[in-house]
């Protein structure tokens, strides 16, 4: 079948530091002074020497931190922006869902905007007319068609744009972060539609920060960092590489990684405070990365200025988007620490870590006996990465589990390795 898309040595340079648009005066100055000729050549490479291909019918995810050049790549493929070097070969027509909302006009009605939007996307009017009901239905705009767009909610406006785009019939579909918009129900609808298109043989290139979406849509991904390919391969591996990279970034700023953010400002830190939080494996070796199913130990060192009776400790884990996944505290667990004076070490053991692959942060709190007010409570004191050689079928948690099957004569039980 061959490749639908081939990028060969593609780079994109922007001029650094200059205003977005020049005035004639600026250019005259540039022409007239020798230094500015030098300055003018100072360029910023948004994308550098990018080479990859996407097989026809394939789905490729592009992930990476902000400013790594992901959107620029899509813009070059979509012919919005011209590459500075390299060659892009495209087999088939390209449709782009790059930030919906462009081209719609607030004074025009929903109906008029659907046609306007369609012609921007390159859909002929008769095709839109044919798909009109389906578009309206997808967007959930029935009854608002003859209302000017300015009276729509922002969610409705976005849905209108995406719904038209979702009805494009191109061989290649570029998707840039569109799923960040709309409510949860609409997002699900969009994901389903994208998957339908993919299953029908449309080649998809997806740029997203929603790594879970990338994982669900694209078997393969590339990780872009500062315009270069940092990793390429099966999506779970690339995502895990990305997490490691994020973790290195955190380690380069140790104060952020170790002290974390103070959750509640309290002067009671003078009475008792967290000195350090360490993450270690079963052998007691400190590590920033763990395998799914490995043992994890969280070791807290603290110091009390006076004798604190029956302090309580809380530990929780959240993902990088601040969703708290799980936590434990001494009060609910009925674990009583008689008292702390001076330095002390408190340890939480997590046998067979069930957190799915991803980047996590550890939050630690030191509390009074009733857990009403904290002495010291910090978010994101440590970060760690969970890798997995196996994929989770779904979700972000591995539950302890076992399978069983019966076929009449004999029963088979397979114990899960977790």
């Amino acid at each position: 079948m061959g490749d639908a898309l081939i990028l060969d040595g593609v780079s994109k340079a922007f001029r650094r530091g200059t205003a977005r648009y020049r005035s004639l005066r600026d250019d005259l100055i540039v022409v007239l002074s020798p230094w500015s000729w030098m300055r003018r050549r100072e360029v910023f490479w948004a994308v550098r020497d990018l080479t990859f291909e996407v097989p026809a019918g394939g789905a490729l995810g592009i992930i990476g931190p902000n400013g790594s050049g992901k959107s620029t790549v899509l813009k070059m493929i979509a012919r919005i922006s011209h590459p500075t070097t390299g060659t892009i070969r495209i087999r088939g027509r390209v449709g782009a869902l790059i930030e919906v909302g462009a081209g719609v006009h607030p004074e025009l009605t929903g109906r008029e905007n659907i046609f306007m939007y369609g012609s921007l996307m390159g859909l002929p009017g008769r095709e839109i007319a044919r798909k009109f009901d389906s578009i309206v239905d997808f967007a959930g705009l029935d009854g608002f068609l003859d209302t000017p767009l300015k009276h729509y909610s922002s969610g409705m406006q976005v849905r209108l744009g995406f719904s038209v785009a979702a009805h494009m019939t191109t061989e290649i579909l570029l998707v840039d972060e569109v799923l960040a918009v709309g409510d949860a129900a609409f997002q699900t609808k969009c994901l389903r539609r994208m998957r339908e298109l993919r299953d029908e043989g449309v080649t998809v290139v997806l740029v997203s920060h929603q790594l879970a979406h990338v994982q669900r849509m694209c078997p393969e991904s590339i990780l872009l960092v500062r315009g270069r390919v940092e990793a390429r391969g099966p999506t779970p591996e690339v995502i895990s590489r990305y997490y490691q990279l994020l973790d290195t970034v955190a380690e380069q700023r140790p104060e952020a990684a170790i002290l974390g953010r103070v959750a509640v400002a309290t002067h009671r830190r003078d009475e008792m405070r967290i000195l350090s939080v360490r993450l270690a494996d079963a052998a007691g070796i400190e590590r920033p990365q763990f395998e799914l199913g490995e043992d994890l130990r969280v070791i807290i060192e603290c110091e009390a200025a006076r004798l604190i009776h029956r302090p309580q400790v809380s530990i929780s884990f959240n993902s990088s988007d601040w969703t708290v996944y799980t936590g434990a505290d001494t009060k609910n667990d009925g674990f009583a620490i008689p008292g702390i004076e001076g330095r002390a070490t408190i340890e939480l053991s997590v046998p067979r870590l069930g957190l799915g692959p991803g980047l996590y942060e550890v939050n630690v709190g030191l509390w009074d006996e009733e857990m009403l007010s904290p002495y010291d409570w910090r978010w994101g004191v440590r970060r760690f990465v969970v890798n997995s050689s196996r994929n989770l079928f779904a979700g972000r948690f591995m539950l302890p589990h076992a399978w069983a099957a019966k076929d009449g004569s004999e029963s088979v039980t397979i114990q899960s390795s977790v």
Binding site: V10, S11, F14, R20, Y21, R22, S23, L24, R25, D27, K75, M76, A78, R79, I80, S81, H82, P83, T84, T85, G86, T87, I88, R89, I90, R91, G92, R93, V94, A96, I98, E99, A102, G103, H105, E107, L108, E112, F115, M116, S119, L120, M121, G122, P124, G125, R130, K131, S134, F138, P148, H167, T169, E171, R193, E196, L197, E200, G201, V202
Partner: protein, 284 residues
């Protein structure tokens, strides 16, 4: 939901960084493929204009009519400029009709690329569509004010002859010149916002440098051809008056001179536009 049918034939396109901009033929093919967008953009402008303003369509007439009144009073009454034996209001309106079309569409087209930034950054289409849509928008205004001209002619009992058909090639020449200027100015304005400030003034000067308020007969014979070279609109407007008011063919030498300038401008403008348009998304 509609089932998606993949097209069997797939077209391969190659984007090479170093390639020269595509030539005129493929440019026109792209444009033809996006004609619906062109029409829809123009329709959008027209709809929006008439939805937002109370007077709506009437605005298309007000500008040339007011100008005609001012000119008739200042130049016709006070200055008593010669008007080729035609009542001055008709004389000036005959010129204001093509001039207003020219000035307003070129002014609108000039800002179209910078104004279409949100589109340019998000969606691919041949960028020529933007200035062309501005021109298309103002053809509606032109048609409306032309209808008013018809009423004016009837009021002054000036009959049209079959010679009026000469306005067709004249208008074609004018539109070609407008396209050239629109491409050039809209691309320049994307880079240099100075254009936006300079153009209104330039248009004012240009109006008086064109036989709108006055007659071409005031230009000495031997200067007319170089004049038409320098200002194609002069030849267009003079021809327009000849065809409509005098039932005579335009001065073909002047039209040829204007045509020469137009073709030249068109070549330069199209080259420049295609050369810079691939950078529009990065700079606007």
């Amino acid at each position: 939901m509609d089932t998606h049918v993949l097209r069997q034939h797939t077209r391969e396109s190659v984007i090479r960084a170093a390639d020269a901009p595509p030539g005129l033929r493929s440019g026109l093919r792209e444009l033809a493929a996006h004609r619906e967008l062109l029409v829809n953009l123009a329709l959008r402008e027209i709809r929006v204009r008439y939805k937002q303003s109370v007077l709506g369509v009437a605005w298309a007439l007000i500008q040339p009519v007011v100008m005609m009144l001012v000119f008739s009073i200042v130049f016709g009454r006070f200055a008593r400029l010669p008007s080729e034996g035609i009542p001055y209001p008709v004389f000036s309106y005959a010129a204001l009709l093509p001039w207003t079309f020219f000035a307003s569409s070129v002014s609108a087209a000039m800002g179209s690329v910078a104004g279409g930034a949100s589109l340019i950054k998000k969606i691919y289409f041949p960028r020529e569509v933007l200035p062309l849509a501005s021109i298309l928008t103002y053809t509606v205004d032109f048609a409306i004010s032309a209808a008013v001209f018809g009423l004016l002619l009837a009021y002054y009992r000036i009959g049209l002859t079959v010679q009026v058909l000469y306005v067709v090639p004249l208008l074609a020449l004018q539109v070609a010149f407008m396209v050239a200027l629109s491409l050039l100015l809209s691309a320049c304005n994307a880079y240099y916002r100075d254009v936006r400030y300079a153009l209104p003034m330039a248009m004012q000067v240009w109006l008086y440098a064109t036989p709108v308020a006055w007659s071409m007969s005031m230009v000495p014979e031997r200067y007319r051809v170089p004049y038409a070279f320098a200002n194609p609109m002069a030849a267009v407007i003079d021809g327009f008056r000849a065809a409509v008011l005098h039932g005579a063919p335009p001065d073909w030498t002047l039209v040829a001179a204007a045509g020469g300038t137009t073709v030249l401008t068109l070549i330069v403008a199209y080259r420049y536009f295609t050369y810079v348009e691939r950078n529009f998304a990065d700079i606007v």
